[in-house]
Symmetry: C2
Subunit: 205 residues, 2 copies
């Protein structure tokens, strides 16, 4: 069986398959990268966006920071170094998904400029859409959906973003969703209305 | 913004979104896991299968062992431990893709029973379809598509499968493609004919 030349030519031109797949799916793939404090509502918005896109015939995929910690990123902790490696892998996986024409919804604290800049570097600027899910620390801590703020305040977990690890708000996000002011429905609608033009309108698949 | 309960219920039931997405894509997602020696033709068959599926309206994605080494698995080497971690991550990513309804084509030497058993464990038996791309070492070494066998024989790279690292042939693969005997076209056709019933026939997307 001959081999080699075929591999190299096709494997080195990921653009080809992506364009074909986007055309088949009738959508433009983008990475909707949602950053923000724990409890700001990233996962909730990710799920609602995925559902609303699906209802409109779009194919999307959620990559949730908490979820991949038990799979792809098993064994990584919350040190600065491990967080960056965590994020790097998520960005690489998101890159595979956009290469497949899929709208990729990342829900990931991604606390620092460096972290988000690395993700943008992996994905390329046109595909990396930075969404700031913004709620004040006081509100996130009051919600304390997963009980983690309490543990962090009691010193039972360390390096917790917003408590003893910094969160650097995006300076110029593509869109900001202020979940401290908007309701869930308003937040989800604002996000959807921002995303739809990016991924292209279409009829049902 | 309320949160929490919604997250947990939806995130813990990946079956829901998968069924929806498979229905939208009109296909069943499976992981076509191709193992075999370097030079056996895995990447070539992966590309051809992806293309042939695409021509029939299927959405599929290649995860190629060589390709992910420069991205997702950057920094990992060829020691036994690193190979397993390499494979574990590939299996986790493949799991995300089948969860999105996408037919996932893995091209990965995956040399040992243990390695493939770990992949099967991550993916679950119904989704893990083991394809043995089989060509004798002599033929693979003669082809030496990437010049790696020569380097391995000269001791310039170590732990090379088939030379100084073992390849344990699958005992009971779902299908075996003998690329030492079949032509490229015959090999690709045999693989496609095996895969189509698994992913379901359908009209163009």
């Amino acid at each position: 069986m001959q081999s080699g030349i075929l591999n190299i030519n096709l494997l080195n031109s990921p653009e080809g398959p992506r364009i074909t797949k986007e055309a088949m799916l009738k959508q433009h793939a983008r990475v909707i990268w949602m950053c923000g404090l724990s409890g700001a509502g990233k996962s909730t918005l990710a799920i609602l966006l995925d559902k609303q896109l699906s209802d409109r015939g779009y194919i999307s995929q959620i990559i949730d920071g908490d979820m991949v910690r038990s799979g792809l990123n098993k064994g990584l902790g919350f040190s600065h170094e491990d967080r960056l490696e965590n994020l790097r892998r998520v960005a690489e996986v998101a890159k595979l998904f956009v290469g497949c024409g899929v709208i990729t919804i990342v829900s990931f604290i991604s606390p620092t400029y460096n972290a988000r800049s690395m993700a943008k570097g992996v994905l390329g600027e046109p595909d990396f859409i930075e969404v700031y899910v913004n709620a004040p620390l006081e509100i996130c801590e009051k919600r304390d959906t997963k009980g983690l703020y309490k543990l962090a305040r009691n010193g039972k977990i360390r390096d917790f973003t917003g408590i003893d690890s910094p969160f650097e708000p995006p300076e110029n996000p593509a869109v900001e969703i202020n979940t401290g002011i908007l309701t869930v429905e308003e937040s989800a609608m604002k996000l959807l209305n921002f995303v739809l033009p990016l991924v292209g309108y279409k009829k049902q698949l």
